[in-house]
């Protein structure tokens, strides 16, 4: 299903009417995101975060009217490739923004980059495209995936925890996650558990944790897995008893379901809705007004992607000169919601990472809040394998 909405219509008509001059071609942007299936809550944040930036800019980016095409990748690589290929082959496309999941990125990167469009990932940051497979037209406004898990490993090590129980789903990202944690955590691993991706009930794992009494638990249980685990964790009476560190397990997409059960649990991220800068305050207020939920990192990174495009198109004076546009993108001369933001040679950010903690706000909603900085100006280690300068 491809939804098309031409935001530029009213602005374009207005410009025609007033100036009567030649209408400029709107900039064509595809937003590739998952809008069906279990990942849809994340995909909607990406779509809405990007849309919000465009709306707040009066339907323009870099002074140009934009025509956004939203493409649902359905979290199926074959479907994503088919839809994205027909989109980029259907006419001159300037930017493709997306997707949420790394396996989709692997599928769509080639057709998008071959078409000459810039590919900006608002979330997926696989190690392959940070290293050997890096591309001059590929930029990431999130992070390199490993880094988020390393934040928790570093924190656990810094805290002096000796024994850790670590758990992740039994698939590649789960294995990468626990490896990332162990890169920095040097204590004893009490148990390393790979749960089936379809797990619903973690009662048996939680009973095991209660009986082995580790100093700290690290979990990478995205989406519904995390909701199940956190609820059952709290029901077993372990909340607040054993420190709980996690990646992508407690965030704004899962908190509406986890609620009080998640309060006090830790995650790792580059941003949180309580980040102390004026642009974040405005973004969170605008997003909540428009979509009635607290924005998470997915929305934030998509918003930053839009602001990045805005700054680059403005600096390059349009999208005609690709080299000029690329140079402007690399400068990352925009006000990131994170405050500090710059690109490494491989198109991935160099940025700060924080330990975040779940809190209940005064209005009864839940959000993550920054607890402490764990990494400063942290660049991913794969950049050295990238040939770009």
């Amino acid at each position: 299903m491809t939804l098309k909405f031409t935001l530029s219509l009213s602005a374009g008509l207005l410009a025609l009417g007033v100036a009567g001059a030649q209408a400029q071609e709107p900039m064509k942007i595809g937003v590739v995101s998952v809008l069906t299936g279990p990942g849809a809550a994340l995909g909607q944040q990406v779509r809405d975060g990007f849309q919000l930036a465009v709306d707040k800019n009066g339907g323009k980016l870099g002074g140009l009217a934009v025509q956004i095409t939203v493409i649902d990748d359905e979290l199926k690589p074959d479907v994503a490739v088919g839809k994205v290929r027909s989109f980029v082959e259907g006419g001159k496309v300037d930017f493709v923004v997306g997707p949420v999941f790394s396996n989709i990125l692997g599928a769509i990167a080639k057709p998008v980059l071959d078409s000459g469009a810039f590919l900006i990932s608002p979330n997926a940051g696989p190690s392959t495209m940070a290293g050997k497979a890096c591309n001059q037209n590929f930029f990431v406004t999130s992070y390199q995936n490993d880094q988020v898990h390393e934040v928790l490993g570093k924190y656990a090590q810094d805290q002096g925890y000796k024994r850790a129980y670590i758990i992740a789903p039994n698939y590649q990202a789960g294995k990468d996650s626990l490896a990332g944690f162990k890169n920095y955590f040097k204590g004893e691993i009490v148990d390393e558990v790979y749960a089936p991706l379809t797990s619903m009930d973690f009662a048996s794992d939680i009973a095991k944790i209660a009986s082995t009494k580790p100093d700290v638990v690290f979990a990478f249980l995205p989406g519904g897995l995390g909701v199940n685990f956190v609820k059952q964790w709290s029901q077993a009476g372990l909340q607040g008893k054993i420190p709980f560190l996690s990646a992508f397990t407690v965030d704004e997409s899962t908190l509406p379901a986890q609620q009080d059960a998640a309060v006090g649990l830790f995650g790792g991220m580059t941003w949180a809705p309580n980040m102390d800068n004026p642009q974040t305050k405005k973004f969170v207020a605008d997003y909540e007004a428009a979509y009635k939920i607290v924005p998470g990192s997915y929305a934030q990174q998509a918003y930053d992607a839009a602001m990045l495009i805005d700054s680059a198109v403005k600096a390059a004076g349009g999208t005609g000169d690709k080299d000029k546009l690329r140079a402007a993108l690399k400068k990352a001369d925009f006000t990131s919601l994170r405050g500090k933001f710059k690109f490494n040679t491989n198109g991935y950010p160099i940025q700060d990472f924080y330990l975040v903690k779940v809190a209940k706000r005064a209005d009864g909603k839940f959000q993550t809040e920054i607890a402490q900085k764990v990494f400063t100006d942290y660049a991913d280690p794969h950049a050295k394998d990238c040939a770009l300068k």
Binding site: P38, E192, A203, G223, V227, A236
Partner: protein, 308 residues
């Protein structure tokens, strides 16, 4: 491995088995009596959970919300029976599978449009929150005890209806030989509708009872459906007793396998390879059990009488 951990894990296995029994009981009834493959049974479980979210939220009471959710699940089930299933009873299994698979897609998407894609939850009712201390400080959540109790009660009720009442007798007869039951002058359509309504209620009840411990999200019924099919294959199609025994076996094997497989393997291999093998082996354990049952007793452990 300590005794208390073993006891907790057996309780977890029982509780998981009971949940599976609630889903599988409806599935096996519909399959056994009506010879109808209802893949949409899993989404009816999901609907039960979503309705519980809505009604518990509206009424503020878990018991009242549960009752309303059950009533609504029944209504939706009857509407589906009238609109879709009724026209499929005479068709062959492939048509039924296709049509009910279509319903899965439709209802998963429909749920997302009504309730949104993000996972939701139901709070544990206050009178069942907290935990019961077992030996040496190991706690077990009260709600899970309540779930085991509710499942056993439903099981007993089902046993009573199926074994001791006239409707139950017709059900058993229908499971063995539906055309003969029809020839004897029983309104088979009405019987089918009762069975179907009952199956829907059971699935809805399972979903609503699972809502406080599991995340309520689109597609949550799909994994349960697969397990429920394993249960009825192990237990024997059309047999409530079989569903009960099969569900407990699947629940216990899955839970105990997941918690002790690593330790078991570590006795005779290195830790990393035990971990890798254990994760793979424990997730396929229930399917191995199913394959073994199919090999030794293809009709299941406790099949409905007279069914071949």
């Amino acid at each position: 491995m300590t005794t208390s951990l073993l006891i907790v894990q057996i309780l977890n296995g029982l509780q998981f088995g009971i949940l599976l029994f609630l889903v599988a009981a409806g599935l096996t009834l519909v399959f056994g009596v009506m010879d109808f493959i209802n893949l949409a049974h899993g989404v009816q479980y999901m609907l039960g959970a979503y309705l519980a979210v809505t009604f518990v939220g509206l009424t503020g009471s878990f018991v009242l919300g549960l009752a309303l959710a059950l009533a609504a699940a029944l209504l939706i089930g009857l509407a589906l029976e009238f609109l879709v299933f009724r026209h499929l009873y005479e068709r062959d299994h492939l048509d039924q599978v296709l049509a009910t698979f279509g319903l899965i897609l439709l209802l998963n998407q429909g749920v997302k449009m009504v309730w949104g894609a993000a996972p939701l939850s139901v709070p544990v009712p206050a009178f069942l929150s907290g935990s019961v201390p077992l030996m040496d400080g190991i706690l077990y959540p009260t709600y899970r005890f309540a779930l085991i109790g509710a499942g056993l009660a439903v099981g007993a009720l089902l046993w009573f209806i199926v074994e001791k009442t006239r409707t139950g007798m017709l059900l058993r007869a229908g499971a063995s030989n539906p055309s003969m039951v029809s020839a004897l002058g029983v309104d088979i359509r009405k019987l089918f509708m009762i069975v179907f309504a009952f199956g829907t209620m059971l699935a809805g009840f399972a979903g609503a009872m699972a809502a406080p411990i599991l995340s309520v999200e689109p597609g949550m019924g799909d994994t349960v459906l697969i397990l429920a099919f394993v249960v009825i294959v192990v237990g024997g199609i059309g047999s409530i007793r079989g569903a009960f025994v099969g569900a407990l076996i699947v629940g216990l094997v899955d839970t105990l396998g997941r918690s002790f497989m690593n330790d078991l393997l570590r006795l005779f291999m290195s830790a990393p390879s035990a971990r890798a093998t254990g994760a793979a082996l424990s997730s396929m354990l229930i399917y191995l059990v199913m394959a073994m049952v199919l090999f030794v007793r293809p009709e299941g452990l406790l099949p409905a009488k007279g069914r071949s």
